[in-house]
Amino acid sequence: MAEVDDSRKPMFAGLSDVSISADIPVEGEINVPVGTPSQDDEYSTLDEPVKDTILRDLTAVGKKFVHVMYPKKSSALLRDWDLWGPLLLCVTLALMLQGNSVDSKEEGGPQFAEVFVIIWFGSVIITLNSKLLGGTISFFQSLCVLGYCIMPLTVAMVVCRLVLLGGSGTVSFIIRLVVVTASFSWSTFASTAFLVDSQPPNRKALVVYPVFLFYFVIGWMVLTFSPSA
């Protein structure tokens, strides 16, 4: 046995040091040189209070909101993508846009499901379009950007609802028109600032146009919202 060990020492040097004994638990003794730091991290997030975990995610989402409000060419939105923000915005917008209930005779505005489907299905189609045209952005990064850039339109929806509380005449319509137009251009501009760098140079307009159409349709839904009497 010793001769075999000697001949194998250069290749399996560590193996000969392991003593197989019933006392030693398996997981503590195996030295994995690469994975240890991440194991420590994951272990620590299980230990920390729930408030810390939630606050960390909320800060990340909030930071991205700030990036959308002041769009600069930063890559933070793209690098650490998450879909919490888009989900929050989409649900808020769909809830606010929900039209009359089912038992009323009028056909009504868009229902929750319709708005939800339009936003997510539209985002998926635009992402597919930009990837088919040769864009280098990844699927979920693009969904993240498009979802976060709905925020100006959500803000416009809140403002429109407040304005409609005051009355629904011509003046309120003009105010709503101005607000929606401004927020729709802001959305398009913000998402273009994030997305356009990853597209091939001769096709930028081809990628921007569907984004424009998408926010235009959402803006139209926000503008034509009329509250149920």
């Binding site: 009028e106 868009p110 001769n202 096709r203 146009y209 034509t224």
Partner: protein
Amino acid sequence: MSANSDFLLQFQEFGDAENASEDSRDATTVTIEDTGSHKHHKQRKTDPVMSFDEDDDPQANNDQTELLSGQRKSAPFWTFEYYQTFFDVETHQVKERVLGSLLPWPGKNFVSLYIRNNPDLYGPFWICATLVFVIAICGNISDFLVYLGKPQYKYVPEFRKVTIAATAIYSYAWLVPLGLWGVLLWRNTKVINIVSYSFLEIVCVYGYSLAIYIPAVVLWIIPYNTVRWLSIIVALCLSGSVLVLTFWPAVRDDKPRVAIAIMVAIVAMHVLLAVGCKAYFFSTLDVEHPAPKNVVTPSKQ
């Protein structure tokens, strides 16, 4: 003499080999004779060595042609790269194609001039999407303008119209080309046509020909009958002539009855789409006096 004409055909195919595909090789030959023949003649004169080699080696030329034509869409259909080949257009190309469909010119075939063996799906898809939303939005606006000032009317954004418009326009833009392609394929087995189009080229023509309807639909907001009918007739003439000019070379060698029948069917479906959209989405006109005994205008066209 036949060897000479064979050589002519082969040389021209090699010149455009990277664009050739199985279906439209014949179409390639036709266009080169029409527009670029002087260029190829010049090439032949200045390159006698190369032409001599090709005359010697028709087999190698054929193999190279096959190889280059296969390179364009060689990815299997379940990979992403296969579908990327359908989006191989640039901004200025899309602009040219849209403008070419808005202003047809007799003698200029849309497919041979603009598409040139590079059919794309970007144009048809997004033009149809724009048209769907424009029809729904403008239909809503026109209803709103008609009922403006009437206190008993409450504006309702009718969301169902978007779904109906989408179904109608997308099925027109995809199923009618499928049927037309099938009919042309069937006629090709009976009569040898010089010009034949692939399915994607037909989808391209139909998609881009719908582009003229977008400004026409915006004009339909104006609630005057004359304006609406004028715009619909102008749009029909322009887009119908694009279709007619494109498909006439493909059917003119057939029996006259069959050729006329196919062209009439193409135009009829186009008219049906336009009039149907107008009738369904823009059906209210000036409803001035809601008095029961004297209905001024009919409510449905």
